[in-house]
Amino acid sequence: MSEQRQGALLRKAFAAVGVTAMLSAGLAHATPITTKEGVLPPGTELNEEQLDQPTELFASELAGGKRSYLLDLGDLLFSSPAIFGGAARQAGISCETCHQQGSNNPKLYIPGLSSRPGTFDTSGALFNPKADNGVFDAVTPPSLRGARYLAPYGHDGRFSSLRDFVRNVIVNEFAGRDPSEQVLDALVAYIQEISFLPNPKLTAGGRLSADASDAARRGEALFNKPFRHDAAMSCASCHRPDGAFVDHQVHDVGTGGWFKTPTLINADFNAPYFHDGRYDSYTEVVGYFDRHFDLGLSPHERADLVAYLDAVGDAKKPVTRDTVQAELDELAAFASVLDTAIPAHNQEIIQLTVDAVGNEWRELGENFPERTDTSVTGGVTERLRARGATRELVLSLRLIAMAASAGDYDEAARAYSDYRQRVAAAAPDLKLAEQWSLFNPSIREAHFKALRQLADLAK
């Protein structure tokens, strides 16, 4: 993404949440992998360090309902490297790596597999040598918001079924074992729950609301206007406003093959654009279609179309600040899977849950800098207590898995009860230490500045 486009998107996002001070916090934390010894090549950027994360909303919650067992399980599996195999499992890569909070990952970059940030070759040799087709064809991992309305799946629409698509990702792209029925059920349930973000500029029928600008309104007319050389076609004939801005078809629009029509809803946050991420901005996209279909648009008309896309693609709250409380809420949802899995003696799900939730606690603990982190001063007692508490919780979880492995589900249930009590006891300590943790933007900046200084020293 160009700095200009990235800056524009971030400004928009930050304005939406009213926290302009986030700008520095959001941009500062690129920490590419430097070592040659790891599973992933040097220069890899997984973009895992963002304090401000894409907002994730679930359809059931928007409708006033609650998270189901399947949603919780699918959500945790989505963050679990254990369902993959080979290098992905080794490197701790999960679905969440490419689809952060069910969105995309515009900074994801893996040398040899990415043609540019935000792209990834799903048939390269690193993650599954058996799938290596010898063609460097990196594509954008798309946002999954509204996925249930967006069949077929895959950029080339090769899967009509989301279930088949998910299985293909696990087995063929990331060398995982054939997932069990319950794992697939949960992942599909989770993805189908990921909702589009509310956009006050758009009505339920896909028309602009009174909140949209005049330029966007002029753009809307152009969007629906027949092309000058083919009256049967308009932008809206493929991107149908009354149908989530898709037509469920693949088309050849001169970009190197047949690719499905992407949705435009919330697309302001989906850059880079086109299947291969070749464009950073709507200006480039509109310019391309103007040339390809010889639309004869004036500069003003192109600007109006961009304003329209900008309005359709907007969202009320595109990013959400990560906090200790947000992490605790997510961990509570994930761990609640054990409410069902332990009484059901469901060994597979108990082990997957312990591993995934344990990983999350480990990651949360890393936000409380240890004593040897000299970039952070203050709150050392509080930091260490919080860090220690997260570690104790990892071990409490492991005890559950060990008991279940031994077939002692009564002991597993006791250990789970103990775990829950420990979480309740630890929460105040974690919140108390938050001000000296990486959840504090200035502490975060100091920590990552020190990391960058080390990396610079090693250049």
């Binding site: 070592t35 010894e37 080794q90 982190d373 090693a458």
Partner: protein
């Protein structure tokens, strides 16, 4: 791992103690605070030479590093850093637990001004001229560590040793697939191996005998788990480490060590500071 003669003797002694488990069981089966406490105190005293030796290796390596830097010999300096680091990593069960201030300076992360990693980042990118001051400080800090540790009055507490070993068992399981603890030197796998050796030394020299007398099954499970960890880190390179299995084994070992505390009449070791 190039294990020194002294270490080999210590580990052999520890392994021999496994064979003596039955005899120890006889003497320790009778509940008695003083018997257990005495056994642990003796074990802690038996462990001290291991720690002294490895901090000695760290200090000697650091001094060689200092000399190589002064001589402008990059290859020798890099080799000396690795040698020093091995000694430090094997002593990690006790570094943060018993010497937190020195640990903070010597093993600072991320810190581009002091400690092993500041030196590592510059040294392994060929910048000998930038590391004179941090190397001098590293030598000074390690010398102070060695002095405090070697003092006859210094004694390890069994509780602190159990804490340190448990913490390190947890930390060995941290995912190193993106480079690990020493990403610029590329020696994270060696770090892990030395860590496991350090845990093994603490457990076998200090706790195994006493625990065998009180819960032989648990003692056996701990030995098996340490062996599992050894197998998991005894691989050709960092890429070959089964990270999820290592994490699981490290956590299981930490849980077992925590479980052993009550049997040893010690407090449950915390994995935080």
């Amino acid at each position: 791992m190039a294990t020194s003669i002294t270490t080999t003797k210590l580990i052999a002694h520890a392994r021999a103690s496994l064979l003596c488990g039955a005899l120890l069981a006889l003497s320790l089966a009778m509940p008695g605070r003083s018997v257990a406490a005495d056994a642990l105190a003796k074990g802690a005293a038996d462990y001290k030479p291991f720690a002294v030796e490895h901090i000695g290796i760290a200090l000697t390596g650091a001094k060689k590093l200092q000399a190589a830097v002064k001589a402008g010999d990059l290859k020798a300096a890099q080799g000396a850093w690795i040698e020093s680091r091995k000694g430090w990593e094997a002593a990690e069960p006790i570094t943060g637990e018993f010497f937190p201030k020195l640990d903070e300076a010597i093993d600072a992360w991320p810190d581009a001004k002091q400690g092993y990693h500041a030196v590592e980042a510059a040294l392994f990118s060929g910048k000998l001229d930038e590391i004179g001051a941090p190397v001098d400080k590293l030598v000074g800090d390690l010398a102070e560590f060695d002095k405090q540790l070697s003092a006859p009055s210094f004694k390890f507490s069994p509780q602190g040793l159990l804490n340190g070993a448990t913490k390190l068992a947890y930390e060995v399981g941290e995912n190193k697939s993106k480079g690990g603890e020493s990403p610029y030197a590329g020696t994270s796998l060696t770090d892990m191996y030395e860590n496991v050796e350090g845990i093994e030394a603490v457990y076998k020299l200090v706790f195994h005998g006493a625990l065998t007398g009180r819960d032989g099954k648990l003692a056996g499970r701990i030995v098996d788990k340490i062996e599992d960890l050894e197998k998991l880190v005894k691989v050709k390179d960092l890429k070959s480490v089964d990270q999820p299995a290592l994490k699981k084994a490290g956590e299981e070992l930490a849980v077992l060590l925590q479980t052993s505390a009550a049997k040893l009449k010690l407090k449950k070791p915390a994995v935080g500071e």
